[in-house]
């Protein structure tokens, strides 16, 4: 099973998961994962909306933004918590492509 995240908002559970269809659909609408560095906030919201698309296709962009804004509320640095979530979402996004390559995986470890 590919990675999924259970996101709870207002006592309702939402499953965040990335599908290839969602990637294609959102890229068609102008989303580019590489923009995450330059336009963090916008891209974060779109990426979050994208990850909802597979299991909750009827959620609108505005509602997705509200859900993301609720992340980290009450925390000292809400953006930091949101970024942690986004980091996971980026991994899930990349997984959609990485699973197409069957090259044996290599690992590395930095030594002192």
């Amino acid at each position: 099973m590919a990675k999924q995240i259970i996101f709870t908002y207002e006592k309702t559970d939402y499953t965040l998961e990335v599908s290839r269809e969602a990637i294609k659909r959102f890229e068609k609408n102008g989303f580019n994962i590489n923009d995450l560095g330059a336009k963090v906030l916008n891209s974060m919201e779109t990426l979050f909306h994208l990850s909802l698309y597979k299991n909750h296709p009827f959620i609108k962009e505005k509602q997705a933004s509200q859900m993301l804004e609720a992340v980290g509320v009450g925390h000292d640095n809400p953006l930091e918590v949101q970024l942690e979530l986004v980091k996971e979402l980026v991994e899930m996004y990349q997984e959609a492509l990485n699973t197409l390559s069957t090259t044996k995986k290599a690992t590395w470890k930095a030594m002192n």
Partner: protein, 151 residues
């Protein structure tokens, strides 16, 4: 494997009609579009590819690899078997040709090509009936399992 070539494929055609390597990588959509028919060839459905669990592709690719390997081994075995038949058929061929030009040809020389194909599934052969001793041993083993006659 075909899928390995997809990522980082930056090949394009230049103005002069020749091919060039450009720096702009393919977008995710382009890579996904390119990979779709490859994975459909592996037996993955269109819906599974686009809407299903992304990890499914890994298993389809692995299944394809195993299938290809099994086909290759099967083909190799068939070729080897053909070689054996051919070898059998041509065992006396040299002698037969020599006989044609010989003043004193050897008699009873003929092709030794097997009249029937080799029985590759020997397990299908009916088993020979057990001898009396073997039958007695078998019965003794059965009785001993029931806590039988042996001390």
């Amino acid at each position: 494997m075909e899928g390995d070539e997809l990522i980082g494929d930056t090949h394009s055609i230049n103005d002069e009609g020749g091919s060039d390597y450009v720096t702009a990588p393919l977008s995710y959509t382009e890579v996904l579009d390119k990979a779709c028919p490859i994975f459909m060839n592996y037996g993955m459905s269109y819906n599974d590819y686009w809407k299903g669990d992304v990890e499914m592709a890994v298993f389809y690719a692995e299944a394809h690899r195993l299938r290809t390997q099994a086909e290759l081994e099967n083909h190799n075995f068939k070729s080897w078997l053909l070689g054996i038949y051919f070898d059998k058929a041509t065992q006396n061929l040299g002698q037969i040709i020599l006989n044609a030009f010989s003043k004193r040809p050897k008699k009873n020389l003929k092709s030794v090509f097997p009249k029937e194909p080799f029985d590759l599934a020997e397990s299908r052969k009916p088993q020979a009936p057990l001898t009396k001793e073997a039958e007695a041993e078998r019965m003794e083993a059965i009785f001993s399992l029931w806590g039988g006659t042996k001390q």
